[in-house]
């Protein structure tokens, strides 16, 4: 049995895989369907209504993010009805959104899909601002900020926090126009189960969640440098957003493209200040007789360490030594460390600081 089957999207025959949604099948065929609330890591919620399409035989428009592709299905993603739906829905979202002086959805460095979808449209309705009565929430955590007036309530952040992180620090609270993203007791994130992974920022499509210490203003000259996070041995890929030779923020590459699937931890995402820190060590230092440090070369420093270790071994035996490797080491480096301990110094006293 073949594991793919054909369906027709916008007159084009598309091969879908078993279990795929219409959105996924269309995406692989190069047919773009706009969506806010879809994140491939999460159970589809169909809540943002942006991806509604016509499915033959269905009276109502259906959310392509949740609608399973079926053999022979005929789907339309572009029609007068769908265009009208998108134009009015986007107009409504815009009327409830922070706007810049030009009346466009406010831009932000991490991108605002509402702006991207609306900025070139000339069929939007000039609606009066809605001013939904959302409650605010003070939050003194150092990293994650939330602007309810940029939130479209797609609930990607709350679903991510639950389904991917297993943390559930945030949830939809209140009802109707009052609905917003909150915590139990509406306290700051530090007083919740939040691990400050910042995944909510990454999944937010409109920049309602953003990093406190990163400049929110977009910069066209910004470059992205792909690198590997060196906080531990997992090897998460990071995209460094670089401005003027300095790291402006750290993001995960898109879900599905690297080993970390769009995820990072609190250190990988936020602890990048050391890179440009004044006190960062850039060469080995050797302590002098008066207690002060002087700069040294690597060969000199390593020679100093080796001779010191050998001296202790020769005087007190290998078990007088202990070897601790950093949690930032890779598996290979940890292997070499224990090899050094056992083979060169004859002791089993070796440990890795992440192995509690």
């Amino acid at each position: 049995m073949s594991d793919t089957f054909p369906l027709v999207i916008d007159g084009q025959t598309v091969q879908a895989r078993q279990g795929e949604t219409v959105l996924q099948a269309a995406d692989r065929a190069g047919i773009q369907i706009p969506t806010f609330c879809n994140d491939p890591r999460l159970t589809p919620s169909g809540a943002c209504r942006m991806c509604l399409v016509e499915v033959q035989g269905q009276r109502r428009l259906q959310p392509s993010c949740a609608w399973k592709a079926e053999p022979g299905q005929v789907v339309t993603t572009a029609s007068e009805r769908i265009e009208k739906h998108r134009a009015v829905l986007l107009s409504m979202y815009l009327a409830d959104h922070s706007q810049d002086e030009a009346g466009q959805a406010a831009d932000i460095a991490t991108g605002n899909k509402l702006r991207a979808y609306t900025v070139d449209r000339d069929d939007l309705l000039p609606l009066a601002p809605v001013h939904s009565p959302r409650v605010g929430r003070a939050d003194d955590n150092p990293y994650i900020a939330f602007d309810p007036d940029r939130c479209i309530l797609c609930a990607r952040c709350t679903r991510y926090c639950d389904e991917v992180e297993g943390v559930s620090a945030i949830q939809l609270v209140e009802r109707g126009g009052h609905t917003t993203i909150g915590t139990a007791g509406m306290v700051g994130l530090l007083a919740t189960s939040c691990e400050l992974c910042g995944g909510c920022i990454a999944t937010c499509p409109t920049g309602a969640l953003f990093e406190k210490k990163a400049d929110p203003a977009p910069d066209p000259d910004e470059t992205i440098v792909r690198s590997t996070c060196n906080f531990c041995g997992v090897g998460c890929q990071v995209d460094l957003r670089v401005r003027d030779g300095r790291i402006a923020a750290v993001e995960a590459p898109p879900p599905g493209t690297t080993v970390n699937d769009g995820n990072l931890c609190v250190k990988g995402r936020f602890a990048y200040d050391f890179v440009h820190h004044d006190e960062r060590l850039r060469s080995p230092l050797i302590r002098q007789a008066d207690g002060s440090f002087r700069q040294a070369t690597w060969p000199e420093a390593l020679e100093r360490v080796a001779s010191g270790l050998k001296k202790i071994r020769d005087r007190d035996g290998g078990d007088a030594l202990g070897f601790i490797s950093s949690s930032r080491c890779t598996g290979e480096e940890n292997y070499l460390m224990q090899k050094l301990a056992r083979a060169a110094f004859g002791t089993n006293n070796c440990h890795q600081c992440a192995a509690t």
């Binding site: 309705l125 709350t158 639950d162 126009g177 139990a184 189960s193």
Partner: protein, 507 residues
């Protein structure tokens, strides 16, 4: 993420027990149930009775109560309380009625020929259940099909198709749920069934459970109906000999109209925010805890015993344009508001005739709750049934008929309905969450300024609410305004700022 084995379904009941949502109650309940604190908080804050538990006076803002001066009453404004026959109504701290405009309304006179016979004695012989056992599953389904019984909750979906669908599912763990979360403004029929004929409903539920082989029966009852719940519990105890072998569970609603929507109701039983699910899958396939679930309205279930005892054909023949009798709730400007059992398909004049006739000069009516919009009196002889009313841009819905006389400003009436939908939108999808706000704001601005320009984009917004919303609430929420504008354009023209119009002219 909830802990393995978490008891999420207990969350809302525990919050009620604890006196509502507070930091302390949420922390304790999260620990006790293994559900994350944010989820407990988010769920609790969804429900009016849990987020605002200590309210001395809840003043009903339903259409009928507004017609009879609710705006002049002191207290906290709340959505329709289902006491429209006593308008205007105020509930006290214990959710009992502490103020009403008139005593409880009338019902049809006792008549043993009527299936529901609200005025008659509440017999508890459970002959329908006995007959169901004789007929067997196929026989019961055939009787339902012959009766042509349509769901009385509002959608009018053929009951036998629902029952058959559940009984044909491969999954054998199944549930029966009674939707007793009556909340459509203008509707109070289920209330009367639960108070006057609780055995009818319980018998219908027992028949449903035995027919589909349900593991348990859930009765989800509106939180503002403590008296009705007590009536059911009393009847359940009385009929223990007939019903005791089944697993009965009462689940309280906590003040959220949207939980009358079947998938929101299921979410609520599961202990979550009452946000409707995407359909399909329908509850008959994947309902409560993902299992096939048969959900029927109180009135639908209460029809079942009579159908089995006296036959589906007889029941069907009682209707006029569609099968059976129907409970019409009548309130507003009529002589004797109440619940009247009439052949399905009678017209407004006949319904009002049963309810003591018109008071004043009628101008408009709402045939089936807020969701049905408004019709002009030119529709007074249109059959009030499930299939015919959609042709008039309306629907029978819950058959909550509200009559408005010629003193009513239809823009004001549209505002009352718009406030209801705005307050009761779950907030999940933007067409409804934002659309209900835009609708209410446009009417408010129009009434404040007298400038019809505030309705400039309402046609498009109403279209999008209908097309884009996840559930029926958003789809119909703009109807009252749109139908009032269509049928009573004289109430929506330029007017002096802040002026009230009546009967198409200045007050």
């Amino acid at each position: 993420m909830e802990r393995h084995g978490a008891q999420r379904h207990r969350v809302l009941a525990l919050l009620k027990e604890a006196g509502g949502v507070s930091v302390a109650s949420v922390q304790r309940i999260a620990r006790e149930t293994g559900v994350p604190e944010a989820d407990v908080w988010g769920a609790g804050r969804f429900y009016e009775l849990l987020s605002h538990p200590d309210v001395e006076r809840r003043v009903c803002q339903g259409l009928t109560c507004q017609l009879f001066g609710a705006a002049t009453l002191e207290g906290t404004k709340v959505s329709c309380l289902g006491q429209c026959d006593r308008a205007p109504v105020v509930l006290g701290r214990d959710l009992g009625v502490v103020h009403y405009g008139m005593p409880r309304g009338g019902v049809s006179p006792a008549d043993p020929d009527l299936p529901m016979d609200l005025g008659g004695p509440d017999t508890a012989d459970y002959a329908g259940l006995a007959r169901a056992r004789e007929l067997g599953v196929a026989g019961v389904l055939d009787a339902l099909a012959a009766a042509g019984l349509q769901g009385r909750g509002g959608a009018g979906f053929p009951a036998h198709l629902k029952w058959r669908s559940v009984s044909e599912q491969a999954v054998t763990e199944r549930y029966v749920v009674c939707n007793a979360d009556e909340g459509e403004p203008g509707t109070f029929k289920d209330r009367e069934i639960m108070l006057r004929r609780p055995h009818r409903m319980l018998e219908g539920l027992a028949i449903a459970a035995e027919t589909i082989g349900a593991a348990a029966i859930f009765i989800y009852i509106r939180g503002e109906f403590p008296e009705e719940k007590a009536s059911l519990q009393r009847a359940l105890a009385e009929a223990d000999a007939h019903l005791g072998h089944l697993d009965w569970r009462f689940v309280d609603g906590h003040g959220a109209y949207i939980c009358g929507e079947e998938t929101a109701l299921i979410e609520s039983i599961e202990g979550r925010r009452g946000m409707p699910r995407l359909k399909p899958p329908y509850p008959t396939v994947q309902g409560l805890w993902g299992k096939p679930t048969l959900m029927n309205n109180v009135e639908t279930l209460a029809c079942i015993p009579d159908i089995l005892v006296r036959g589906g054909e007889r029941f069907a023949a009682l209707g006029r344009t569609e099968p059976g009798t129907k409970l019409y709730c009548v309130s507003g400007h009529v002589g004797r508001p109440g619940v009247y059992e009439l052949p399905l398909g009678v017209c407004l004049d006949e319904v009002v005739d049963a309810a003591g006739g018109y008071v004043g000069t009628p101008r408009a009516f709402s045939p089936g709750g807020a969701s049905s919009g408004f019709l002009p009196m030119s529709a007074r002889r249109v059959p009030l049934d499930f299939k015919g009313l959609p042709a008039h841009g309306s629907m029978l819905g819950s058959a909550g008929v509200v009559v408005l006389d010629d003193t009513v400003d239809m823009a004001q009436a549209a505002l009352w309905q718009a406030v209801f939908f705005e307050d009761e939108s779950c907030g999940q999808c933007a067409p409804c969450r934002l659309g209900t706000q835009l609708v209410r704001q446009s009417i408010g601005r129009y009434l404040g300024t007298g400038d019809p320009a505030h309705f400039a984009h309402l046609d498009e917004i109403a279209w999008e609410m209908d097309q884009g919303s996840i559930c029926g609430l958003g789809m119909v929420a703009a109807l009252p305004l749109q139908m009032a504008r269509r049928h009573f354009p004289q109430d929506f023209g330029p007017r002096p700022p802040g002026a009230t119009m009546t009967g198409g002219g200045p007050a």
